[in-house]
Subunit: 230 residues, 2 copies
DNA sequence: CCCATTCCTTGATGTGCGTCAAGCTGCGCC
DNA sequence: GGCGCAGCTTGACGCACATCAAGGAATGGG
């Protein structure tokens, strides 16, 4: 029982949110944290479930999505290792409005609401970091709304490809972006159907701007890609 | 100079965010707050402007929107008296990504970033309220994303009409919802063109579910309206 | 009283994207 | 090896919506 806790504490300590805490301060937080080993495809929570903490991805991958009454699904976010989800709901007395499901075998940490609230009480710096985290999330969501409202499917795909690239501002030479998961999931994240996504990539290949090999997308002409509008 | 400050303080004290503060505690906050009298149509800030605080609407009305490169506009939010906007950006070192413009002659309060940060430092309860506020905003935005992704224009309009109604759960008798502003702005908020919005309302009238008189929409059959899908 | 302006409606036409339905391709597995 | 399946592509078709283009219908100002 104490072995996992050590790992937990070490992982928590590596996060921006907890980085500046002394080991003694970290201990109560680690005590309120549970490890979850979740195989691929498992549902972590459903819309309507109550929320009593937030989740962190140590390794693996998680998707956040809503399900329409007709059963179709829209992916809101693909959560990578080192990132968290479900914080916002801790501060409201409402159940989840999205569902969370693993896309790969994953190790998650669940940090209980109570220890977060206690830490906010104790350390204003922590509160500030929490506020910054939520703000970043909000910012991203507004960008999504913007993209959905006034960009075409092609523009969203192009934007996504360019954003995946850290060195975007660097030299224009070709480089490879690897899609984090299946094309169908990425398509849903970008609010297009898998069929349409496939056609968009096809058109970009025809235009000589990218090359596609499975989940690897080679960006051939970042500059022209940025200006491409279908 | 001291007259306005009194009013300011009184107004701040009436907000959930500051409600529990003693007058002496409120004073430094009021000192970091400036009144802005803004005539209708004026731009409060543009995308790209730096952010050094957040805004509160005392009276009047403000729209938050982004402008596409082609010049078209998408309204993200219509801010009513008693509500605030621009908090999220205080906690990040980024400029605004939306623009804010008054839809009516308005009185706004601008609370400087510095006093907010100081108050977070001083009072964990305040930090919690701030977190709750951001969380509510985030929640709303996710609902918007959901609506944009998997509802039709008609469904969004119907949802909006039903949501505007506080007594929705009460008796099914007819009652009136008044649109907060022009139909074109409401249409943009719901991500449809004014033309399409007009047609949707027309269809709902034809179906005998609502009656429209200018900005007044009389809900005749809330139950059937909820089930209507075009 | 008329003209202008703003706001809204209505019609005709176009199109981006979804849907449905086959194929195709690679990969694991008996 | 070949069967089966998941993931992806391709084509044909249709629809929800946008766009373009004219009118009305209020409102206000000279």
């Amino acid at each position: 029982m104490s072995r996992p806790k050590i790992k937990t504490q070490a992982f928590l300590a590596s996060l921006p949110l907890f980085k500046e805490l002394a080991p003694a301060e970290l201990e109560p937080i680690a005590a309120g944290t549970t490890e979850l080993h979740v195989p691929r495809g498992e549902i972590i929570f459903n819309r309507g479930d109550p929320c009593d903490g937030f989740h962190l991805v140590v390794y693996g991958q998680v998707k956040l999505a809503f399900i329409s009454p007709q059963g179709s699904e829209k992916v809101v976010e693909i959560v990578a290792p080192g990132y968290s989800f479900g914080e916002a709901l801790m501060f409201m007395e409402k159940p989840y409005i999205v569902m969370a499901q693993t896309l790969a075998d994953s190790l998650l940490l669940h940090v209980a609401k109570a220890v977060v609230f206690a830490e906010i009480e104790r350390d204003p710096k922590f509160a500030r970091k929490m506020l910054a985290g939520l703000s970043r999330r909000l910012h991203g969501l507004i960008s999504d709304v913007e993209a959905y409202s006034l960009q075409s499917g092609t523009e969203r795909v192009v934007g996504y490809l360019l954003r995946q690239d850290a060195q975007e501002t660097a030299e224009p030479g070709p480089y490879v972006v690897t899609l984090p998961t299946s094309k169908a999931i990425v398509a849903s994240r970008l609010n297009v159907t898998p069929e349409h996504f496939s056609r968009i990539l096809h058109d970009l290949v025809e235009a000589g701007l990218i090359a596609v090999d499975g989940r690897d997308v080679r960006i051939l002409e970042a500059g022209k890609l940025r200006d491409y509008h279908g």
